[in-house]
């Protein structure tokens, strides 16, 4: 019977009531968090048993490297570095003591005054296209660095590059450069590519040919980059087993941090990295049966800081910078936004870096003093003290920016928040019109590696401070040949930053790398020629020694 004659009556009350109850019931299931303490130093290798070859791993990255993987032209952040070290080798590599030891190179030797560096190469090492990693190839790479997009500023100090013979390259520098071995690694960015790749500028960023443990299979931007085992790789493990162990490694960018944890949890043989305390707690809550966590210890951590623009109002005025630093209560910020799980920083350097000071004299939270300085500034500048807090649109960063805004408001500083996507954000930094950027940088224990970010006139000295005192210290530090000589110089650098408040240092970033319990070898095999354990540096662990328990 088609009974379309009944009156329309909808039971909305009942439905609404049911739906409302459901909503509240779901919302009431709150969560709890687990507290952790900061680990000391580098994570220790656990006994995972004997490595077995085969299998594959999927590494979930925090972003895609849209600039591609042509090492001299690449502008790699951590995600690019992870992919880079699978495909390429660097001439040197840092060990757990933070010392740069030869890696793809057999030796790296300076002359007496550190102005001529002789790079000795290993016999018989080949690129993935079968061509030798010889003097000519390495010289071509280093020469390409001196004209690369970011690299040209980094390697400004290089004078000449000569392939002396098939296994030797000689590099001369404009000034003595004791830190040069660190520049042959450059946080993992200085991968050596085959001449065939570098020669073709059109395909250099997509057609990767390195000498690394894995060989490019395919790269589908924003989805995955897959690399397969390089069967002719030059390294073997201590039992003489060919490295790498894995048949295949896949890198998958998952920009949404929460989604990355979801994919890590749901996936098989997965690894991931993150700096978000929220996601780190979520990983911890999984327990050891679902995730092995590698937490970066203290010593050489990156710094989270608030980059101030020293060339535009209000932060072209030292007192304004001081006022801002005193208005911000970093301890409270860490408690609220970082769950109290990170360590406050008063300086650019972490504990193992020459130049680290217990107390460099950086301005501390002092609301009364901040108010005084703000009032004085306002009186001198037409009653205004306005700033713009600019950040990427990551939820953690925005939460932090909101705390900053709230805190400085109490001192009379009016702040606005501007969210930008990653590339506009860098454009903003280079544009030089910002007042405050939420920034992250300066890992490692070789202070000279920070030169490019701080020298006067450097395009990537974003705050554009022009400080002859600092410049002289940086130049002195660069040519200092021993740690004993270096230390007092960088302590002065440290104090200068504290006195001039070019940046408001925030806290040391804590990286966590997670691996599924059956994924082993994340801390890597020892570096060749008794070079020691490889370093765990800011979200980067070696991939060459990964293996999967079948």
């Amino acid at each position: 019977m088609l009974d379309s004659q009944r009156p329309v009556r909808r039971r909305w009350l009942r439905t609404l009531a049911v739906l409302t109850t459901l909503g509240i019931a779901v919302a009431a299931c709150g969560g709890s968090s687990t507290k952790t303490t900061t680990k000391k130093g580098q994570p220790q290798a656990q006994n995972e048993g004997k490595a077995t070859p085969g299998g594959s791993v999927t590494y979930l990255l925090e972003s895609e490297t849209t600039s591609g993987f042509c090492p001299p032209q690449g502008q790699w952040a951590i995600s690019g570095i992870m992919v880079g070290q699978a495909l390429y080798d660097t001439l040197t590599a840092p060990n757990a003591q933070g010392k740069y030891v030869p890696y793809l190179a057999k030796s790296v030797t300076p002359n007496a005054d550190f102005t001529t560096w002789t790079i000795g190469l290993r016999d018989g090492v080949k690129f993935q296209n079968g061509k030798p990693v010889d003097g000519a190839a390495v010289a071509q790479n280093i020469t390409a660095w001196t004209t690369g997009t970011l690299f040209q500023f980094v390697y400004k100090n290089i004078d000449t590059v000569t392939a002396t013979n098939p296994t030797t390259v000689t590099v001369t520098t404009k000034t003595p450069w004791p830190a040069f071995p660190g520049y042959l690694y450059l946080d993992g960015r200085a991968g050596i590519a085959a001449p065939a790749q570098l020669d073709n500028a059109d395909t250099c960023s997509t057609n990767m040919i390195g000498s690394g443990p894995f060989k490019l299979k395919e790269w589908k931007q924003n989805d995955h980059l897959t690399a397969t085992k390089n069967p002719n790789y030059w390294q073997k493990d201590k039992h003489g087993v060919q490295l790498p162990y894995l048949d295949q490694i896949t890198f998958r960018p998952v920009v949404e941090a929460a989604q990355r944890v979801n994919d890590f949890t749901a996936g098989q043989n997965t690894m991931m990295h993150t700096t978000s305390p929220q996601q780190q707690d979520q990983l911890k809550a999984l327990g050891s049966s679902q995730a092995k966590l590698y937490t970066e210890g203290d010593g050489r951590r990156e710094n989270r800081y608030y980059l101030l623009n020293a060339t535009t109002a209000p932060f072209d005025d030292l007192n304004a910078r001081k006022a801002f630093a005193m208005a911000v209560d970093r301890d409270a910020l860490i408690k609220i936004n970082l769950k109290g799980e990170v360590e406050k920083a008063d300086q650019p350097f972490d504990k193992d870096v020459p130049g680290y000071l217990k107390n460099p004299g950086f301005p501390q939270h002092n609301l009364a003093e901040a108010k005084k300085l703000v009032t004085a500034y306002k009186n001198a500048h037409g009653g205004q003290f306005k700033i713009l807090l600019e950040t990427t649109n990551d939820p953690g960063n925005i939460a932090e920016a909101q705390t900053l805004k709230q805190q400085v408001a109490q001192a009379g500083i009016s702040a606005d928040i501007q969210q930008e996507d990653q590339s506009s954000f860098i454009t903003t930094a280079l544009g030089g019109k910002f007042s405050v950027l939420l920034w992250r940088n300066h890992p490692g224990n070789t202070p000279d590696l920070q030169y490019v970010w701080w020298y006067t006139g450097s395009p990537v000295n974003f705050g554009k401070f022009n400080d002859p005192v600092l410049q002289k210290l940086l130049d002195d530090g660069r040519v200092a040949t021993t740690d004993a000589a270096r230390k007092p110089i960088y302590e002065q650098v440290n104090k200068r930053f504290a006195a001039q408040v070019y940046n408001l240092w925030g806290f040391y970033v804590r990286w966590v790398i997670a691996a599924k319990p059956n994924v082993n070898g994340a801390l890597g095999p020892p570096l060749p020629d008794n070079g020691g354990q490889p370093e765990y540096l800011y979200g980067r662990l070696p991939v060459v020694g990964l293996w999967v328990k079948q």
Partner: protein, 309 residues
């Protein structure tokens, strides 16, 4: 307004209204459901309007002890967010932003789209073709592209003179209003086309009445119910659209709360603190439900087909 999978909601209404000129409004009484929906909307709108004078905590004040505390803890009713702010208070103030954007953008779309739709539908011919192609063009560009780019353009970073930008709520009203315009315009046009064919309009024309008079006196009053029903639906979609924009960092600018940016900014908290996502989500859900339902009630009252039931 084709955001977020609700895209065709507006099209449906268009199609329902396009299907033919409606008959006389059915003389039905409002059902219980309609009253509840109306009650909820009034409650939300009321607390949005009165938020500053209600006994609520400061929505910006941060309190370490309240950070990430669940429902009913640390002296709160609905808990505290990742920045230690009172959720209840932020939901109330969030309603202000969400509703301002929704009402503002739809009003804007209604005025511009409605005017264009009336002109196109009544005068037909070349002007109709012109306006229709314009509407088609607007609809053929993904709405998110238009809205997001407009927000970035109108509230720029420091490089482009940021800090002196327009109020973000106003920018969002403009951005969402622009993408709403062709949809509201199309339905007005379709409805106008149908009504302009009716005897009493033709009669008025034959008597030599001025076009403007006919449009305002004869056509518009009959087209209004359709526009009103679509507007209610549009507001529902605009609330959700703002949440989508917030995901890309171009929604209501924090620390000003909106339901959308509350969800977007706490999206990483779902696993550990689900209430931070579910509370604003429930507000959106109930409000959108209410608006959808009221829109349907309005439509049904003027729909000849269901009227015959």
């Amino acid at each position: 307004m084709t955001f977020l999978g609700d895209s065709s909601a507006a099209q449906v209404e268009t199609a329902l209204w396009e299907a033919g000129p409606a008959g006389k409004a059915a003389k039905k009484r409002l059902g219980v459901g309609a009253w509840i929906a109306l009650g909820w909307i009034v409650l939300v709108a009321g607390s949005a309007l009165l938020a500053p004078i209600l006994p609520l905590k400061d929505p910006q004040a941060q309190n370490v002890d309240l950070a990430r505390q669940g429902i009913g803890k640390a002296g709160s009713i609905l808990g505290g967010d990742s920045n230690g702010r009172d959720m209840l208070s932020r939901l109330a103030f969030g309603a202000r932003s969400s509703l301002t954007v929704a009402v503002g953008s739809i009003l804007l779309g209604l005025v511009i789209g409605g005017a264009l739709g009336l002109i196109a539908g009544y005068y037909r011919g070349k002007i109709d073709t012109l306006i229709s192609v314009l509407f088609d063009t607007m609809v053929s560009i993904p709405a998110l592209v238009i809205a997001a780019t407009m927000v970035v353009t109108l509230s720029p970073a420091s490089t482009k003179g940021g800090g002196t930008h327009l109020n973000r709520l106003l920018v969002l009203v403009l951005a969402i209003g622009v993408v709403a315009t062709p949809l509201l315009g199309r339905i007005t046009r379709a409805s106008t086309l149908a009504w302009s064919e009716r005897e009493f309009v033709l009669a008025a024309r034959a008597q030599g009445s001025k076009n403007r008079r006919i449009v305002f006196r004869e056509v518009l009053p009959n087209v209004l119910p359709a526009m009103f029903s679509i507007a209610l639906l549009g507001m529902a979609i605009a609330i959700v659209a703002e949440a989508g924009l917030a995901l890309f960092g171009v929604g209501v600018n924090p620390p000003t709360p909106s339901w959308g940016n509350m969800i977007a900014l706490e999206r990483g908290s779902l696993a550990q603190y689900p209430f931070m996502v579910f509370e604003p989500a429930a507000m959106i859900f109930l409000t959108v439900l209410g608006l959808n339902y009221l829109g349907d009630v309005v439509r049904a009252r003027f729909d000849v087909r269901e009227g015959g039931l």
